[in-house]
């Protein structure tokens, strides 16, 4: 029972990160109908930036905020320079270009930092505190929950309470009409990508220290888990992404805890197949007409 509790807390903590990462995918999907397959490596790139800054200044927080800033800039640059050219093209092109970005980032980061695992520090201890004699959750878990919650609240505020958020939603929902009403649709798309990359960078900073460390492929498994989370939620629904993230985090934590950590990729595959075959539109989708 103790182990079950521990795995549940661990799963929720992981799930919070998956939820944030899935949210980044959903942001871009809603804006441009593109699944950003380069999201994982972009997050890794920002974490490498944090590694360099933390190494130079000795301050974790300097690295943390540089990573967020780098995410913002990287997202905008990637959208403006690369993805803009394929936004109107068929979906296959956008996926292929995003995969090209994966190779560019992996190769580039490998050239700069080498291919060994580098340690990324955590700001708080990862040793679980005991609650009523049961080792339950660490300070770091609390930090993760707090950060992700703050992130989600600010995103919700941005999209529902500000004029910029309204413009972004309009640009994503009805680009032509939005443009006629004077919304800078291109700018909104860039902003959406920048925001998504920032969210991805945050998720990367939170999850990479809990794994093996920094490596060009460090986020591969996180990416597929978050993609599964987004699909569980339906790719179109931010709330669905959050719920999906928590579900995926819990499932992976239980499977990894009881069957051995090597089985988590298989668990992701099984989960994704089941969801796609049972409810291709996600758990939160309304009935929808299919093209054929």
């Amino acid at each position: 029972m103790d182990r079950f509790l521990f795995l549940t807390v661990d799963g929720l903590s992981r799930g919070a990160v998956y939820a944030a990462f899935a949210l980044a995918l959903v942001l871009i999907w809603r804006g441009t109908r593109i699944v950003n397959f380069a999201q994982g490596v972009m997050a890794v790139a920002t974490s490498y930036a944090a590694y360099s800054v933390t190494g130079a200044t000795g301050s974790y927080w300097a690295g943390f905020f540089v990573a967020l800033l780098a995410g913002l800039v990287l997202g905008a640059v990637v959208e403006r320079v690369v993805m803009r050219h394929v936004e109107q093209a068929p979906p296959l092109n956008a996926v292929i270009v995003a995969l090209g970005l994966v190779l560019v980032f992996q190769g580039g980061l490998g050239m700069i930092y080498g291919s060994q695992y580098l340690p990324l520090p955590t700001p708080y201890s990862r040793v679980a505190m005991t609650v009523g004699g049961v080792p339950l959750l660490s300070r770091y878990d609390l930090f993760v929950f707090g950060t992700v919650l703050a992130l989600m609240l600010s995103l919700a505020l941005l999209f529902t309470r500000t004029a910029t958020g309204l413009r972004m939603r309009a640009a994503a929902f009805e680009p032509q009409v939005a443009r006629l009403l004077g919304v800078n649709v291109g700018g909104m798309l860039t902003l959406g990508w920048a925001l998504a990359a920032l969210v991805g960078a945050l998720a990367g900073m939170l999850v990479i220290p809990t794994g093996l460390g920094l490596h060009p492929t460090a986020m591969d498994l996180v990416f597929v888990s978050a993609f599964t989370a987004a699909v569980v939620g339906g790719l179109d629904s931010p709330l669905g992404a959050v719920v999906g993230g928590l579900v995926v985090g819990l499932v992976l934590s239980y499977v990894g805890g009881y069957l051995g950590s090597g089985t988590t990729p298989l668990a992701v595959l099984a989960l994704l197949v089941v969801v796609l075959l049972a409810r291709p539109g996600g758990l939160f989708s309304a009935a929808q007409a299919r093209r054929v």
């Binding site: 093209a89 092109n93 560019v104 980061l109 093209r291």
Partner: protein
């Protein structure tokens, strides 16, 4: 007068076989091995061309299907050697086992894939690419985890003489597999089934109205493609004489996609250029980096990663600027030259040229 497509393809294959046969004698063993590697890539890349280029289904799981083929060949070969069967015929039997295993797995993925479109399919196959190598660790008793298996191979036939280079023998094996794959696929895509594939790619609704079963076509395309990937993976096992999960990472799947896209989506000839590129570009960059005087540590860093970055850039640039790939550019250059030549009309006007033109790549459609 129309010649028979089958005869034409057989003729081209025989000619290519003859040239390659002579080539393996001209090249030194190292080059022979490179040629063999390109041929193994080609088996899988040609299959991916059929799936992605002609049927419009994007698979990032072909590296995993290659792993399945490779492990099947390894297990089967080692079983033969454990029972003391060392005849040459064990190799084709094992390769067939690899193809069948990959085909069955491909059929399972294909059934799921037929219900999925665009990013969903890419995502599912991406997860396959990451999950399958993990099986080597989970079922460590059979697959020996990260360490992998060594592959027992029958010796070079004695008739070839004692000093026959082993690499040349491997090149013969791989080239045979590649030529066979190309011949079968070339006939397949010129057949009724090939037209069905393209019809489904271009417009599913129209294809269904024309009486084509869209789902069945998509599953079949996946099956054919998986069989080719299984053969390619099996050849990898034969070439490296070992299999391990590190040889079949996501990067392999991305490399195959790169070969198909840069060579020219939807064109079998493009798959040839792409496969050669996959082998030669890392070699060239390595030679280039070796020419510059660098510290060993820096050299090691650049060795694996520079080609990766160049591949990625190529993928992006080709997709944005020239979706037809190398083969598309070659075709354009060919038409331009023919159109320029005095006294001959551009071949575009002739009805026969229509058939010679490769189908427009799916991805360039808007």
């Amino acid at each position: 007068m129309r010649r028979s497509t089958l005869l034409r393809h057989l003729g081209i294959t025989a000619l290519a076989a003859l040239i390659l046969f002579v080539l393996t004698y001209v090249l030194d063993p190292f080059r022979d091995y490179q040629l063999a590697t390109a041929a193994a890539y080609l088996c899988a890349a040609a299959g991916l061309t059929v799936l992605t280029g002609l049927n419009g289904q994007l698979s990032l799981g072909h590296g995993a299907l290659m792993a399945i083929g490779a492990y099947a060949v390894a297990l089967s070969q080692n079983r033969f050697s454990a029972h003391g069967v060392t005849a040459l015929w064990t190799l084709p039997v094992s390769l067939a086992a690899g193809v069948v295993t990959a085909t069955v797995c491909g059929a399972v993925i294909g059934v799921a894939a037929a219900r999925l479109r665009g990013p969903y399919l890419a995502g599912l196959t991406l997860v396959v690419a990451i999950a399958v190598p993990a099986m080597a660790t989970v079922f460590g008793g059979v697959f020996h985890g990260d360490q992998g298996l060594s592959v027992w191979l029958p010796p070079v036939p004695a008739a070839l003489g004692e000093n026959f280079p082993f690499e040349q023998w491997q090149a013969w094996l791989a080239l045979t597999a590649a030529l066979l794959t190309m011949l079968l696929l070339a006939n397949l895509i010129r057949s009724r089934f090939g037209r069905t594939l393209r019809a489904v790619r271009d417009n599913e609704v129209a294809a269904r109205l024309a009486g084509i079963s869209v789902a069945r076509t998509q599953v079949l395309a996946f099956v054919v493609s998986a069989a080719c990937a299984g053969l390619g993976g099996g050849m990898f096992a034969v070439l490296a004489q070992s299999v391990s999960p590190s040889a079949f990472t996501l990067t392999l799947s991305l490399n195959l996609l790169l070969a198909v896209v840069v060579g020219g989506l939807g064109s079998l000839a493009g798959a040839v250029w792409g496969s050669l590129l996959l082998v030669l570009l890392p070699y060239w960059t390595d030679a280039l980096v070796g020419r510059l005087v660098l510290s060993p540590a820096l050299h090691q860093r650049l060795a694996g990663n520079l080609p990766l970055a160049i591949f990625g850039l190529l993928l992006i640039v080709v997709m944005i600027a020239a979706p037809g790939g190398i083969q598309g550019l070659l075709n354009r250059a060919g038409r331009w030259v023919r159109g320029r030549r005095p006294g001959r009309p551009a071949r575009r006007a002739e009805p026969f040229a229509q058939e010679a033109e490769p189908p427009a790549p799916a991805a360039s459609r808007t």
